[in-house]
Each structure stands twice: as structure tokens, then as C-alpha cells.
């Protein structure tokens, strides 16, 4: 009888940590498509609503239904929202992975599992709480076909009881998640959560160290996926044209954009002040973006590595013909199809030099939702000011996971539309040379098709051209043109967002990183200081081309660790193209490439290993 469960297994010895409040990770192991996403989001949101800093990372398969998926929630009173390497509290619902999940736990950790899995036979050095989910779900969910989904909400109740999550916050989170149109479904799930809680209250009496207690750290904060933040950033930056081809992990970016565009950019006549085209492939989507940019629209596409590979030829065209385009690359694991649902900073090197011939493209590296939003505006401004394709490299971790964030920062700074000559300008000037460096910044003036003036037209071509945009194969015209493009790239260097630098007093070593590595690098910095008394300065690159601040940072430190979420050290390699030999010799690489978001402990351990050599 299930009442035997009132004495769950207790860990042997004293491996269990002492009381741990608001500083541990919860992992839920389920099968894809079982509805666990809802219960996991509710759990995360409830903790967020209790004012405790929290992050949620979904590790899911490339599959619609059935393959294993893990959701990790980290609560951190210190505000660390990077991935935590160790799992402290595990909910094992998936028979496929339960055995391995159980055996992977460190001694003293807690395991809540579906009773029939009989995990108690595997080990005795962890806290075990078997739950008869199937028996509990029947009474709360009369409709048999819904039970598989509702079952997951039961563990929200059990976990809430065990950790001290306030049920009122679960209820609020749950109804928010389902929204006003699905109140009935919300009520059904709320019943399940309560049943889980009540069962746990009556049956779980085991001692375990982990507790969540209300804080007040999340005032004004929001929870948002990076892709949604980028989508909003593009809309609030005045984007009018989107062409895309669905690809994980970028699809939700454009889908979110479509939703918000309908809401925010439908005119009084019911017509949209934008166009979104789902193209036949990524070649077409970037081709459309380039056509639209040529004709004067703020145009963008969103894709992932395989899509960028297909866009290569077109991006070279845009670089050479000098047409603005914004490409959001939500990076996933390559090469090839790779691990489509796992994260990697895998396209840094290839995006910076995409296409044949000599090319260089600016890349922005947002580290969280706020920058997804603000850098979208930066990207459009840079693209139009410098008439060139601009990449925004986010990644799956940022794009598809829920992030706690400050509210997205509205900006009413005027849009920088770049050097575009109107019919009046042409009347005054008498004409123009499309590719002449008039202002010494490498950027020529352009006109838009449709400009009502006989001097407005010019011929855009991917073949060799002179300052007048005429076909030319003359060596001096070619050199003149590509040297100007090089000067233009130097102008871009001065215009991209500056790095975020934190100099630790007396630091001999520094860390350089970009994007989502930020959270774990900063946590590692804290670990090295606290555990090893080793001060480390940090520099987070916010853009390529690198700025002079990087040179200075390297000069001020003896050794600089470049942290990369890829095998080959792409950020590192790109620096080698730009920096002096003297500076390159100070660099060391830390590379993390498991497909999971980088964690602080892995960085700390690797730096210490290299320091000991």
C-alpha cells in the first residue's frame, strides 16, 4: 500500500549538505511532448514571483514527441543565472532516463520519482521520494486522455510542498500561463497541483536540505525568452520587412514578431505597416531582405547556422554592393545538422568572414534579453549607416530559454538611416557617385529606387565596379573599391557597442568572452576570488570588429583567457586575425562545447588547470 511511502529512503552517512536556502538547482526529467513544459514554466515562474532570482533551461530533443527532455531551474539568492553544473533536486518522470538520472546525482541530493520506476533499488546515499503519480491523477482528471498531461502538474504540488514554494504563487503562475481563454484547463491543472501538494503534506516526512524562502530581488523584473526580446527589439527599431525560413532555434523569434506586429503595427485601415514573407529557403529569405534593403526598407531575417551557410553568396553580394541587412543568427550546435536543439557559439568565425573573396561583417553579441532588444536597434542603425549586412549572434540558450531580465529599455533616439540622397539633395548636388568616399569614412551616398529625379539612378552589381557604379575590371578600380570597404570596416569599429569591462584590483589574469558566456564567466570570476583568492578582470565583447579597449585590456594583464562555447576557440581565432603577435601570445583558450550552456565550475576548473601548468 502506498502508505509505506511515509518513510522514504534516507541517505546513508552525512553526505547531505546542511540547510540550503535559495541556492540550488532543480531538474525535471520527462519525455518530450508530455506537457511538462507548462508545469516547468509554472514552477519557475512561481519561484520568480517569490522574489528569488531564478533561471530555467530547457534541454530538449529534436523531436515532436517521446524523446527525453530535461528542464533545469536554478534558484540563486546571489543572482547567478548561468547553468549550474550539479543537479541538487531531481524529479524523475521519464522511464527512459530515470536510471541514469538517478545514478548521476551526487550523494546527499534529493530524488523525487514516479513510484513504478523503483529507483530506490539503485542506491541509498540520496534522499528518495517515490510518488504514485498514476494513482493520484485519476481522481483529479476524469478524462483519461488528458491524464498524461495533467500528471506533470502533480509534481509541481509535490515539489512546492517539499521546497516551500507558496501555492498561491503556483496558482497565479498557472493561470497566467494558460491565459484568460483557457480557464477550464487551468482549473483542471490547479486541481492536480493541489492534489500533489496535499499528498506530499500527508506522506512526505523526510528531511532534506533544500528550501525556498521569499526574497525581494525581482522587483520590476520580467521573464522573457531572448527570441521574444529580439523580436520586440526589431519592431521597436522600426523594422518593416521580414523574410524567413523556419529553423530551430530561430523560428519562435519570427513567430513572436508576427504576433506583436499584428498588434502594434496594424494601421487604422486594418492594413499592416510591414511585410513578413515566409520564403522557400534561406537563399530566398536573405535575397528578399537584400532587395528590400536596397529599396529602402528596414529589413531583417532570423536563422541559425545551416541557414547562414546557405546565405553565404548573398551576404557577399550585400557586402560588395553595400546594401543594409540585419541577420539574427540564433546559434545552435553544428557542423551540419549537428544538435539542432542544443546551444553553441558556433558561427562567430564563419559569420565574420562569410562568403568568398575578402569580406568582413560586423557581429553584435547580446548577453541577455535587454541587449537582444537594444542591439536589434544598434544592428539596424549600423546596417543602414554603413550600408552593409550586420549579424546579431544570439544562441539557443538565450533565444529559447526563459530569462529573468530588467524591463526592455525603450529608446526614442532617432533612427540612423544613413546616407540617402533625396530628389532635393540631387537637385542641389547635380548628381552623385555611388561608391565615392566623400566624407573619408569609407561610406558612399546612395539613392533609393523610385527617387523622382533624373540623376537618381545607378546600377547595382555584384561584379567589379568603379566609383560611379559602372562595370569595371580595371585593377585600380578594384583596389580602390576594396580598400575603401576596408576603411569602412574601421569606421564600423568605432561605432559598434563598446565592451563591458570589470577590472579587478591587482588582477594578473583576465577573461574575455561574449554573449551568454557572461553569467557563468562572472560567476567563475567570483569563485576564483572567493575560493582561490585569485582576482580576475573580465572583458565582455559586445561586438566584432573588436575595439581598442580589447588591446588595452590585454596590455594590462599578463594572461588573458578567452572563453569560447565551441571546440575551435572561434572568438580566440578571430582575435588572432586582428591583434598583434605580442598580444596574441598572452592569450589562452577555454573551450566548452557539450551542447549545454557553459557553467561557472567548468571555467574555474579549466583556468586553474592551466594556471597550474
Amino acid at each position: 500500500m502506498s502508505t509505506t511511502l511515509t518513510s522514504p529512503a534516507r541517505p546513508d552517512g552525512d553526505a547531505a549538505p546542511a540547510r540550503v536556502v535559495n541556492d540550488f538547482s532543480i531538474q525535471v526529467a520527462t519525455a518530450n511532448g508530455s506537457g511538462s513544459q507548462t508545469s516547468n514554466t509554472v514552477l519557475m515562474r512561481a519561484i520568480f514571483q517569490m522574489g528569488i532570482p531564478v533561471s530555467g533551461k530547457n534541454m530538449f530533443p529534436s523531436n515532436i514527441q517521446g524523446l527525453p527532455t530535461w528542464f533545469t531551474i536554478r534558484a540563486s539568492r546571489h543572482g547567478w543565472i548561468g547553468r549550474k553544473k550539479e543537479v541538487d533536486f531531481l524529479v524523475a518522470m521519464n522511464p527512459e532516463t530515470a536510471r541514469e538520472d538517478c545514478l548521476d546525482l551526487e550523494p546527499g541530493r534529493v530524488l523525487v520519482y514516479d513510484e513504478p520506476l523503483k529507483l530506490n533499488e539503485l542506491r541509498s546515499d540520496i534522499v528518495m521520494v517515490p510518488v504514485p503519480f498514476d494513482k493520484l491523477v485519476g481522481p483529479v482528471c476524469p478524462e483519461a486522455k488528458l491524464r498524461k498531461l495533467v500528471k506533470n502538474m502533480l509534481y509541481d504540488g509535490v515539489v512546492s510542498y517539499m521546497l516551500g514554494i507558496e501555492m498561491e504563487e503556483i496558482r497565479k503562475a498557472l493561470f497566467k500561463q494558460f491565459g484568460p481563454k483557457k480557464v477550464k484547463a487551468a482549473e483542471l491543472n490547479w486541481g492536480a497541483a493541489q492534489a500533489g501538494y496535499d499528498w506530499a503534506k500527508a506522506n512526505v516526512h523526510v528531511e532534506q536540505p533544500y528550501r525556498l524562502e521569499r526574497m525581494n530581488a525581482n522587483k520590476d523584473k520580467i521573464i522573457i525568452e531572448g527570441n521574444t526580446a529580439t523580436a520586440l527589439g526589431c519592431i521597436f527599431a522600426g523594422c518593416t520587412f521580414v523574410a524567413w525560413y523556419p529553423i530551430t532555434p530561430s523560428s519562435s523569434l519570427v513567430e513572436s514578431m508576427i504576433g506583436y506586429l499584428k498588434r502594434l503595427r496594424t494601421g487604422p485601415d486594418g492594413k499592416g505597416t510591414y511585410a513578413v514573407v515566409q520564403a522557400e529557403d534561406e537563399l530566398a529569405s536573405i535575397g528578399m531582405v537584400i532587395g528590400a534593403g536596397w529599396a529602402g526598407a528596414r529589413a531583417m531575417t532570423a536563422t541559425a547556422g545551416p541557414g547562414v551557410s546557405l546565405m553565404s553568396e548573398f551576404v557577399g553580394l550585400a557586402y560588395y554592393t553595400e546594401i543594409p541587412a540585419v541577420i539574427v543568427d540564433v546559434q545552435r550546435v553544428g557542423p551540419s545538422t549537428g544538435l539542432p536543439t542544443r546551444t553553441m557559439q558556433g558561427d562567430i568565425l564563419s559569420n565574420a568572414t562569410l562568403s568568398h573573396g575578402d569580406t568582413r561583417h560586423p557581429i553584435l553579441f547580446p548577453c541577455g534579453p535587454e541587449e537582444c532588444f537594444s542591439m536589434a536597434a544598434n544592428a539596424f542603425d549600423l546596417a543602414e549607416q554603413f550600408q552593409t549586412p550586420v549579424f546579431i549572434n544570439t544562441d539557443l540558450d538565450l533565444g529559447m530559454n526563459n530569462w529573468m531580465s530588467n524591463p526592455l529599455p525603450y529608446s526614442d533616439a532617432p533612427l540612423r538611416r544613413g546616407k540617402v540622397l533625396s530628389a532635393d539633395d540631387l537637385e542641389r548636388l547635380g548628381g552623385f557617385a555611388r561608391y565615392r568616399d566623400v566624407d573619408g569614412d569609407g561610406v558612399g551616398y546612395r539613392t533609393l529606387p523610385g527617387t523622382n529625379h533624373p540623376a537618381a539612378s545607378y546600377f547595382t552589381r555584384g561584379s567589379g565596379h568603379n566609383e560611379m557604379a559602372q562595370y569595371s575590371e580595371r585593377p585600380e578600380d578594384y583596389v580602390n573599391n576594396v580598400d575603401r570597404l576596408s576603411r569602412k570596416f574601421d569606421s564600423i569599429r568605432a561605432a559598434v557597442p563598446q565592451p563591458e569591462i570589470e577590472v579587478a584590483p591587482g588582477a594578473r589574469i583576465g577573461m574575455v568572452f561574449c554573449g551568454t558566456s557572461r553569467e557563468s564567466c562572472r560567476e567563475s570570476q567570483e569563485q576564483l576570488q572567493r575560493e582561490q583568492d585569485l582576482p580576475v578582470s573580465t572583458l565582455r565583447l559586445r561586438a566584432y570588429p573588436y575595439t581598442l579597449a580589447l588591446d588595452e585590456f590585454i596590455d594590462n594583464h599578463e594572461v588573458v583567457y578567452v572563453i569560447d562555447q565551441n571546440r575551435d576557440g572561434q572568438l580566440f581565432q578571430l582575435m588572432r586575425l586582428d591583434l598583434t603577435l605580442e598580444r596574441i601570445q598572452k592569450l589562452r583558450g577555454v573551450r566548452y562545447y557539450t551542447g549545454l550552456p557553459i557553467d561557472a565550475r567548468s571555467i574555474t576548473d579549466e583556468i586553474l588547470r592551466q594556471e597550474a601548468q
Binding site: 520586440l232 494601421g267 505597416t273 530566398a284 536596397w294 529589413a299 553580394l317 546600377f459
Partner: protein, 346 residues
Amino acid sequence: MSTTAVPPKKTNHIGLEVLHYKGGKTTLCAGCGHNAVSERIVEAFYEMGVEPWRVAKLSGIGCSSKSPAYFLNLSHGFNSVHGRAPAVSTGALLANRDLLGIVVTGDGDTASIGIGQFIHLLRRNLPLIYIIEDNGVYGLTKGQFSATSDYGAKSKGGSLNEMHKLDCCLLGIELGATLVARTFSGDKRQLLAILKAAIAHKGLSIIDVVSPCVTFNDHPGSTMSYAYMKEHDVALHELDFIPHFDDIRLELEEGEARDVTMHDGSILRVKKLGRDYDPTDKMGAIRTLHEAEDAQEVVTGILYLNTGSKNFYDTLQMTDTPLSALPESVTRPPKAALDEIMEELR
């Protein structure tokens, strides 16, 4: 002082001379069919009185794709990448729907490397004039067969084409183009009338112009030579185009011709030749093309015309103002809108 009056220069109905529609000097071979197409484009845009600065002319890569440089110097031009003019023109026209778009490509550009983009262009009915200068060979790479080459055609070097051909007009009719025509670069009158109809049409016009390559595909055994076309070209009808700004309205001869009213109010008069061909009959058009292939005829004229379909701007429910002309006040939502969204995310 001489009082001899200078004869007034000939202008179109918006006051421009034909000179305003000319392009640069061609670099194609003497006698290339493509040059004749460029000349007809100049005439058609001049006679229709289109403001040249309202035109965007685009192309892919190849001999044909060079030709936008040889007409309408006052229009913005874009020589893009091989086979991708459909995407670039789609983006450009969506960004500025006031533009009149014209794409000139070839059979390699459209039917091989760009076939994917071509097919999806057809599905959208974007208002665009899409001309395929079709000569059955790759000229710039010296005479390889293209995908529109007839089965059994002989190359200049003597080899036989043993692949089935791809008919861009059939695809166009099947997949959503709303004006589909085939013509011959040597038939000035028919080509001109078709171009004018395409200018008047606010949907996708596919014009497949058999345009012989004098260097690589004008020999005995070719099915796309001048000589072959002279023998095998069968015009479906005689086309008269009566522009909307023209006051002259000739009586329709009952039973001998049919009139189609174009989107801009112009009239396309389709005069019966040997057969009574109805260009609005989709199935009839498809059947005619298949029968012509069996009979080794090249049927020319407007094969299909549908003035009743939604175009891509309608489908996307886009505002009437060009996106490129929208002010910041329209394209950037106010702070209150962001505040509201932030509240929902708390």
C-alpha cells in the same frame, strides 16, 4: 536672326522623349536576340509613358541578365546573383509597392539554378514583369545545353540533348502567374504588344521570349535558331493594345476578336488567327502547349491571362504607402505599448 522653327521633339504622353528610355551600349554579340528585346522594352515603356524613375530593373547572372544595363538608364538597376532575381525583386517591390518591377533573366538563370525561386515566385502573384530570354544554351560559359533545350536538339558541337525540356510557360500557368506569354525576339509587333499588356497588368507576368543565341545555338539542328523559329512559330492571335490614355476606341468586330480590360483600364484586343483561342481558359492553354510540343510548333502570343486574382500586396494586407516611405512615427510604436507588454511579462 533666323526664324526657322525647330521641329518639336516627339514625346510620349508624360512629355518624355524616347531618349529618356534608352540604356547603355550593349556588349552582347551582334545579332543576339536579347538586343531586340531590350529595344522593345525601350519602346514599350516609352509608348506607355511610364516614368523611368518609377521602374526597378533586376536580373540574375548570364548574358540575358546583363541586358538591364542596355535599357532605361534612368531606372535603378540591380544585377544580383545567379538564379536569385525573384527573391531580390520580391523584397524590392514589397519595400516599395509604387515601383514597377521588371526582371530580365535567361533560361539557365530561371530554369536551372533559379528554378526553386522561379516556382515560388509564381505562387505569389507579385506584380512584376518577368522576362525569360530563352535561347536553350549557356552563352557565357560557351554553349552548354540549358534545361529549356528541346529533347533531341543538336548542339553546335554536334551532341544531342537527351534530357526532357522544362517549359516555363506551362509552369507559370499551373502555379499562379496571371499573365503568361511566349513570343519570339524577331516578332517586334507581338513582343511589343505583350510588353505593354504586362505593364498594364497588376500581377505576375511571365514572358518567355525565344531569343536565339547567334554564337552557340543558331545552327542547323538547333530548335531555337532564327531559321527554326521562322518555320515553327505559330502565332495564336494578333494582339492590339489600346492604352488607357488613348481616346481612340475602335469597334470590336463581332466573332473576330475579343477584348480584355487590363487593370489600368487599357484594352487588350485579341484578334482571331487560324483558331479561336481564349487566353482566359487555363485548361485550354495547358492543352494547347502540350499539343504544340507534339506538333513541333512554337505557339506564341498571350497564352494565359487572368485579371481576377489577388496579388501579393493584397494577400499580405499591406498598407498602400510604400514601406520605405513610412515615417518613424508610424514604424516605431510608442513607449506605452512597450510598457504594456512589459507588464504582461511580469
